[in-house]
Symmetry: C2
Subunit: 348 residues, 2 copies
């Protein structure tokens, strides 16, 4: 970075902390933006330096999605709030079958937050954005007094372009359709909880946080008549299936034995009294497609690194009650309801 | 709203409060979204009910802008965080000369926040979005524990389309250009501060919070070769002019006598030890255009209700130091520097 005559003294990124002046709109905020955000997230659009980013998207349908991130703790096995805030919004955009184009990021910082931690988070965001090929092109910074926030909250918003001929929506599940998941469930929630509670699990469980747009692109290219995609984040697989059943006015039947859960996650859930079906994921997706396309879709998913453990877990059925029912490992059947109450607060 | 079998008992919007389950992704969150957010912000795109909104923008260049809102108090003379979060982002989009199309809204709620206040804020957002013709098409809700937030923070993101032939950017100010402001300065900051400090100003001062895209559209139509537009929010006129001078590599000369400030605001600023040039505005803009177009631009601005008190306040000059200088009311000259430190925290 070149020297900027506005800032004769560089920020002390090793020992410094966020203070109220960093959100006041003046010289201190300009310096924080230059030496922390622009220094790491640098790209042509961000460098425009205006209060908005200008770009020409490809013609066609766009999607926009926004997601606030308040995960606690900020750093957890397998990730942190920085990469999570990039992956989470890329995934919400991708779940329309879209190719994510750009991200915006709004930071709400708490007075006293260590600049060293902020830099670590921004570096993680930049790495995630670069790896995904989806740059952060505009942003905003606010600061609240000590005790009025919690370190940092990051709200990211993404836009993406939907390929011609693709129409994916939560209301398109039809009786007979196949239900697939892209991999094992519960990793993110258990990883965050293990750090929060200082649980020393013998087997380390890492968050699955990942950007799924590459997997989605492969799926959409092979099976453009995919009906639904959704990432089972807060509320887990159980709640997401209930959302889709409600939106589409259908029921679902799933098989417990077909649902992938890492043994370590299953053991941790048993210890903690959690049901992995309700635990959050940040790098998994649910897909619903015509039964005749299920085998092909499953093969495409398994051929992608982020879908290697994909599984066909059940099918959509006609049901005016819109129930999600599960055939248990013991051969019985039970209703899998929406998450009620709070299982794991501030998981993302 | 029709009865939803998922929610046998309606939320108690009079006496209820936000609890952690409202951010957990399950049934309680779905109910909060249905009975508070969708109930008031309702539109076709939001009703899609997916994690992202799908739309087809007009062809051409788009802009995206994001803004977190942490104003304290949440309700102030002339507005509240709800309408402010709509106006703020519409204005950031409009400052590229763009026509705002859609908004996304991310809420971070504090456990214990009164649902009655949340509804009041969402109703205000809806009214502002409807009046502006810019709907909120997607959103997100998170909840943090008591003492980890401050009632509600709202991050809004907007997209808009830039008319063909219009190129407005902070780096386009050229020596000789005219500098105009659309009206009186300091109203928003003083209105918020008066409520925060419970100052009983005899003359009530109201925030100027307003959506400026209609004014911008008229200006761009009349003077498409406008060089710069920016809204002087945090840091006020002084800081925004310094930003533009820095970006364009120019100096500026302004005349204090030409800068409109309401007498009540000037008096309040004197009482509080504030300089109105550094106080935030939420319904004003600065425009920079070729000198030959200044008279026409001023006439167009004055013909619009939000520009009735518009004024030509100075001109751009060549200056390698990029100083903003002001001819004072007493005939002297002084340098108007960037805001240093924090004058008014959490003003937006």
């Amino acid at each position: 970075m070149t020297t900027d005559r506005r800032f004769p003294v560089r920020l002390d990124l090793r020992h410094g902390t966020v203070d109220m002046s960093h959100g006041a709109g003046g010289r201190a905020m300009a310096q924080l933006i230059a030496e922390v955000f622009q220094a790491h997230l640098d790209n042509d659009l961000l460098r425009q330096g205006n209060d908005q980013a200008l770009f020409t998207p490809p013609p066609g349908r766009l999607v926009m999605s926004t997601d606030g991130h308040v995960v606690s703790p900020l750093f957890f096995p397998g990730g942190d709030i920085g990469c999570l805030s990039v992956h989470g919004t890329i995934n919400d955009v991708a779940m329309a079958g879209a190719r994510p184009l750009y991200l915006a990021a709004g930071f709400i910082l708490e007075e006293g937050f260590a600049l060293q931690d902020l830099v670590r988070i921004v570096v993680s965001m930049a790495a995630a954005a670069n790896a995904a090929g989806v740059p952060v092109v505009t942003g905003d910074t606010k600061v609240v007094e000590r005790g009025k926030g919690d370190g940092v909250f990051i709200t990211t918003t993404g836009v993406g372009v939907v390929p011609a001929g693709v129409t994916i929506s939560g209301d398109l599940a039809r009786p007979g359709d196949a239900i697939l998941v892209s991999g094992s469930l519960g990793d993110h929630g258990v990883a965050v909880l293990s750090r929060r509670e200082n649980l020393g699990f013998e087997v380390k469980i890492a968050s699955d946080t990942a950007a799924l747009h590459g997997l989605v692109a492969a799926m959409v290219a092979a099976v453009p008549d995919l009906h639904c995609l959704r990432d089972p984040t807060r509320g887990g697989l159980a709640t997401t299936l209930n959302e889709l059943a409600h939106q589409s006015g259908v029921g679902m039947r799933i098989r417990e034995s077909a649902i992938p859960v890492h043994p370590a996650v299953a053991a941790a859930c048993e210890l903690l009294g959690l049901d992995p079906l309700y635990v959050a994921n940040e790098g998994k997706l649910i897909a619903i497609c015509p039964a005749a396309r299920a085998a092909e879709l499953l093969a495409v998913m398994r051929a992608h690194p982020l879908g290697a453990a994909a599984s066909l877990i059940g099918e959509v059925v006609a049901d005016p009650h819109r129930f999600v029912q599960m055939e248990t490992a013991f051969g019985g059947s039970r209703i899998v309801d929406w998450l009620a109450g709070e299982q794991l607060p501030r998981i993302c």
